[in-house]
Symmetry: D2
Subunit: 188 residues, 4 copies
Amino acid sequence: MIKDEDFIKNPDVPGPTKEEIRCLVLCKSNVSNQDIVVDIGCGTGGLTIEFAKRAKYVYAIDINHKAIEITRQNIKKHCVNENIKVLEGNGLDILDKLTNIDLLIIGGSSGKLPLLIKKGYNKLNNNGRIIITAILLETCVEAISTFKELSIIPDVVDISISKGKIIERGTMMFAKNPITIISAKKQN
Amino acid sequence: MIKDEDFIKNPDVPGPTKEEIRCLVLCKSNVSNQDIVVDIGCGTGGLTIEFAKRAKYVYAIDINHKAIEITRQNIKKHCVNENIKVLEGNGLDILDKLTNIDLLIIGGSSGKLPLLIKKGYNKLNNNGRIIITAILLETCVEAISTFKELSIIPDVVDISISKGKIIERGTMMFAKNPITIISAKKQN
Amino acid sequence: MIKDEDFIKNPDVPGPTKEEIRCLVLCKSNVSNQDIVVDIGCGTGGLTIEFAKRAKYVYAIDINHKAIEITRQNIKKHCVNENIKVLEGNGLDILDKLTNIDLLIIGGSSGKLPLLIKKGYNKLNNNGRIIITAILLETCVEAISTFKELSIIPDVVDISISKGKIIERGTMMFAKNPITIISAKKQN
Amino acid sequence: MIKDEDFIKNPDVPGPTKEEIRCLVLCKSNVSNQDIVVDIGCGTGGLTIEFAKRAKYVYAIDINHKAIEITRQNIKKHCVNENIKVLEGNGLDILDKLTNIDLLIIGGSSGKLPLLIKKGYNKLNNNGRIIITAILLETCVEAISTFKELSIIPDVVDISISKGKIIERGTMMFAKNPITIISAKKQN
């Protein structure tokens, strides 16, 4: 896994997704080198780049121009430009034009999460997977209720991580903000 | 409870103990208005002041001159100077001179935690209580093993709190660093 | 605080609210002995009894007959029957008939949370407070969005507690399920 | 990742290590298919089997006969017997006889953690890694202080996970016990 500090950052762009969360998203995704991945709301590009190292191809999408720029910089820094296409724009519109998706990652939705999940789920290949990372309570609930509408019971995991900082007097634990991963598999 | 932001702070002094933690320490302490409280490592004075509002008398002790100063300022701000004595110096030495203690709070120990616990525990009045708040893993383990030496099984609670920040898009949860409260009652 | 194990339990009734959570709810409530408290969804009676010890009067309400029974048993056990009235029925209907409320606690809502919050909030005395304890993600989001409709920004705190069990080899931490406390003050 | 429920369990044997923790240990380990792995305190065999799928060879060691039995059953169930050797006995003694170790995983130490870490660290190949999973506070502190003696600053991560259970009324979060992962790389 790439260390958090090895990503170029922009204060106006969220991310990168913390190392441990990237790790858990990769696990939940069950990604293989045959998979086509779509990463909507790619932010700093943390997940995009991890997937590019393990999947066949990654589409990284963000509506925020600064996110697109910083993702491009991180792709260059981590030398994974061969199998990534970076697309600036609305996730829903771009999703319309894409076909053959094995893995849909949603880290940002510009308020269109239910539509994104429904459209994305329908477009998924057989055995496709969809993963939402949520830092807002409302996103969790919206994702879960959308899956319920689709008659799917998603896997919901909330993760709280503290990192130890070893100082002279001992080990202080510094908490990272919690994040929830909601995932589901296409039911053929 | 006093809000965290209502304490005067000094960047060189730890604290104030977060509102929710002060609340839990008060609960675990079972403080009454007949209790004499000793607060070793008073830091910013957060717990000192909460106890002063509920106990008979509080001795606030810190070895750090800046902590003593900021505690004095907070006592003044919160108008609780009538039943607090602020003492600058080594907790162990000052503890030697105090008698009649119902409640011993240890938030800092300058590396002398086992001695402080043993001496403090022995000096406690009947039904006295001792509470350690720990932000270092090593402090937890040291406190627990000292209690074991005294043939006491302490109550150990680790608390992780996240506070919701309501922004336009929804509610983000911001994690506070975890803290462990180790407490025991004098076994008469 | 009453220990969790000192409440009579019924497997069909949720609760009692864990000691540390009761403690935090009491803190957030800022309860005084002048306060009239309404506890909707009293379950096992944990919060009801803690409030009865600190407030002027408590109305404990639950729609579940078994909850009413177990609450009555716990009231008897903890000898706080002097200032509690236990009411079986729908929270919304009973709330209609009550006046002069300083503190409204909602631990269960039978799916009527927005209505309960709105009606309850309007009925609160000046400086009244309303507190929701939520174990469902959906309850958090619903409470927050209802407060937003009322143009109120509530205090939102998520609490995760682990309790240490001291065994021969060391101290194991056992996690309790997280709970969220959403609270607000009547804005006069 | 293998689902927790897909391991055969024995109530007298700890484990399996939860899916999310296995996932994070794999990430921290940076395992490759060239790696020789030693798993001391293999318990139910959860980590052993995950590593067998990704590494060149795994030695699974436990002093508890029942752990050895259940690990063998799980190896058979998950069809990974080709590159695992299961060894019953004291981790320290067995470690003495092993050479060429890229990855040392310690999930149990029979009270010999400092010796295991020191001996194991010295035996590691260049770029070798050592990972301790701790459920006891004392194990964390002991591991950290042993690494300090070796002039190594380990990576310390405490992980708390809650899993959502979707019921009719909404999503309840069920907490798993926290676990700490302490890891370090051989400094050549």
